[in-house]
Amino acid sequence: MVLGGRRAFAGLILLIVLLASCTAAKKRKSEKYYVEHKQTITEVRQLFDKLYQHMPFSAGFSDRSLKYFVLEILSDSVRFIYNGEKNQPQLEEAVDRFGFDTTQLRTLATKLQQINCIWISKRSFYVNQQRETVTFLSFKSIANPNLFSENKYYILLFPPKQIISRHFRERIRRGDLVKIEDQVWFTIGSNFR
């Protein structure tokens, strides 16, 4: 009996390893992904910019099935984080309290789901003391074959203009940052937020 149990356990492990190797063989997203979903991605960006003008925020999902919406609202001094999985009533209350257009926000969430985008946000940095802000969209990339290493995410970057900084040039040279078209770049990162 014990031997049979061990064999079953070994079989299970083998099955997991096989499944993991199949997942690893999947192709990583590349510039083609943007081209295929360009229309929806553009709509998402426009909608996000419109909502962002009302109040700075970031949005996305916290689970693989993209079921639970996460909203990070930035007020002047406090960042409020709501996760639809555990705080759905509070999330709805916050959307109402901060005066977001619920229809537009719902449309944004639906479109993010359509293109499997897990996070959308903006990030700022400085070039020659001038503030530059980049919109970015993160997507789940392939599952990492190594269980103990970080996940990798496919990230699309949309700088508002041509950015020339030493840091950018170095990343382009190293191949970390790949140009897709004018003001559209992609990178693979271990952090999606």
Binding site: K86, Y126, A143, N151, R193
Partner: protein
């Protein structure tokens, strides 16, 4: 996100550190009953100290550059110091750096002892060294050359005083996480060179302020506490509370199969309230602002590895 302990690197070091340290750093110092000091008292001290520091800054030469720090722009440097003293909540570790421990320590130092901060940072800028309670801060030539050049770190790009300060702290205070990366190289701010373990963080706080504090927890095992919500609330009544947490549970998601159960981030706790729905409304400071989110008690338990409480701060702290 503060990734001082990039999981793969940390996994390697974990075995090494366990071997060296055993499980002994699971400390719980300060058994004596600490004096109960309400937060309002701390804030009163903070306001007086801030006014003193601003007056001191008014009398300081804020124009001439320092040849020791060639890349530091004096205008940006002193504007940054003034901003820090006026808005200590805005101190930001920058994007993708491992400066979270230094940022949390600086946030508290500037909030409660802005005059100490001002004196130390100006001395460091003018002379390239400064004396602390027991240690000397004398950053290396590499660090002096690098301060003012950090790029793509968000707000930190133009915060020259914070660049100088965080790099100097990382170069001066060393813990076991820094043993394999003792020297600064460009990009070290994102790597183990800048990492802060729990013991090092507490040492830094003591070294700068001399405040009375208690600490529970370690780099590997959470404090032995039945109810974290009650415990932290109790600590918040006693003073200012800093938490050493696993950021994977602070910004939770289910995209990873494996989550390393190790602390990676320092935050300052400000409020913890239980809601009617059984959740915990948690307000804390990190990344230059306060954050509020609702978390479950289970997540809170997985989150916390260290709880440091400053129970008494001295208005006349001098060294």
């Amino acid at each position: 996100m503060c990734y001082f302990a990039v999981p793969m690197q940390l996994t390697r070091y974990l075995a090494f550190c366990l071997l060296l340290c055993g499980l002994s750093p699971w400390l719980a110092r300060g058994q004596d009953a600490p004096p109960v000091i309400a937060d309002a008292q701390f804030d009163r001290l903070a306001l007086k100290a801030r006014l003193r520091a601003l007056e001191l800054l008014r009398r300081t030469d804020t124009v001439s550059p320092s040849p020791l720090w060639p890349k530091i722009n004096p205008a940006l440097f002193f504007a940054n110091i003034r901003h820090n003293i006026e808005r200590p909540d805005r101190i930001n570790q920058g994007t993708s750096t491992n400066f979270c421990g230094y940022a949390a320590m600086t946030h508290l130092l500037v909030k409660y002892h802005p005059d100490i901060y001002l004196r130390q940072i100006v001395t460091l800028y003018r002379t390239g060294k400064t004396k602390l309670r027991r240690k000397r801060m004398k950053p290396s030539h590499r660090v002096m050359e690098a301060a003012g050049t950090l790029e793509n770190k968000g707000e930190l790009d133009i915060l020259h005083a914070d660049q100088l300060w965080f790099l100097s702290l990382a170069d001066t205070f060393k813990g076991y996480l820094n043993w394999l990366a003792p020297t600064y190289h460009p990009g070290s701010e994102n790597r183990l060179w800048a990492a802060t373990n729990y013991g090092k963080f507490n040492r830094m706080l003591r070294e700068f302020t001399g405040d009375e504090m208690t600490a529970a927890g370690s780099d590997f095992i959470s404090p032995w506490v039945k109810n974290f919500n009650d415990y932290i609330n109790g600590q918040l009544r006693e003073g200012v509370v800093i938490l050493y947490v696993n950021s994977k549970y602070l910004y939770e998601h289910k995209f990873s199969i494996f989550k390393l159960r190790a602390p990676t981030h320092f935050i300052v706790a400000y409020e913890m309230l239980r809601t009617d729905e059984g959740l915990i409304r948690f307000r804390y400071w990190d990344y230059g602002m306060k954050t509020e989110q609702l978390i479950t008690p289970k997540r809170l338990r997985r989150l916390i590895f260290g709880v440091t409480t400053i129970t008494e701060t001295r208005e006349d702290a001098r060294f």
